[in-house]
């Protein structure tokens, strides 16, 4: 899975992107977030309040129960503030 982090999530996690093989329990956006949070450190800190976290799967906005597969590009970021 290709993981991308933006804005303060990138700063807290400490990297902008990584490739990682998720455990089999990861099948949705929600379980992806649980897995990443369980890695501790910057991940746990960045994901402690999920109300502030938005997710895109393959460059589309995604909801917590949307499916995720190991081949997907999953991006984590705060609510957008463009314009």
């Amino acid at each position: 899975m290709k993981l991308l982090y933006f804005s303060w999530l990138r700063e807290k996690i400490g990297i902008a992107e990584e490739d990682a093989l998720p455990p089999e329990s990861v099948t949705t956006v929600a379980t992806t977030l649980e897995w990443l949070k369980s890695r501790g450190g910057g991940y746990e800190d960045a994901l402690k309040d999920l109300a502030l976290v938005r997710v895109a799967v393959n460059q589309n906005h995604a909801k917590l129960d949307d499916p995720v597969s190991p081949d997907d590009e999953v991006a984590l970021f705060p609510p957008v503030t463009g314009g």
């Binding site: 991308l4 933006f6 804005s7 303060w8 895109a56 460059q59 589309n60 906005h61 590009e73 991006a75 970021f77 705060p78 609510p79 957008v80 503030t81 463009g82 314009g83």
Partner: protein, 149 residues
């Protein structure tokens, strides 16, 4: 048409080229967003816009297509900048051209309202006290909400 770029843009030239040779256009509406020098009580020295390039193009193209589905537009344009910008700099331009003004006005407002809650950009403001990421505003969500179908 959409464009994501670091460079500045010339509003007059962009609007002129949008409706060039198209004499069905009776109304041309545009909105430009600029960097302010204050955010609440904080003085802003500069701001850096981060984005998610692959998704930005896709999200803006979808927003543009949606506006064209909802209103009979002759032309539409979204230009959004990224990188470091200073007060007074132009951030975004949206423009819509239609036979009649009502469609152009509504579609233009839709584009900027929708873009603010959908396009993956994040603003980092530099103040005298240091840098901080701008939080999303409820008022922007509400503005986008009224276009929900």
């Amino acid at each position: 048409m959409i464009r994501v770029q670091e460079n500045d843009f010339d509003i007059g030239a962009e609007l002129k080229s949008l409706v060039k040779e198209n004499h069905k256009v009776g109304g041309l509406c545009s909105f430009a967003g600029l960097v302010r020098d204050m955010a609440g009580d904080d003085k802003i020295g500069a701001m850096t816009l981060e984005h998610y390039p692959a998704m930005t193009e896709k999200a803006l193209a979808e927003i543009d297509a949606e506006a064209n589905r909802r209103w009979p537009l002759e032309a539409s344009l979204i230009i959004h900048r990224f990188g470091r910008l200073e007060p007074g700099d132009q951030i975004v331009l949206v423009a819509t051209a239609a036979a009649h003004r009502q469609d152009a006005f509504e579609a233009c407002q839709f584009l900027i309202d929708w873009l603010k809650t959908q396009a993956p950009f994040w603003k980092l403001e530099e103040t005298q006290e240091g840098s901080h990421w701008v939080a999303a505003r409820d008022s922007d969500d509400q503005a986008a909400q009224r276009w929900k179908k």
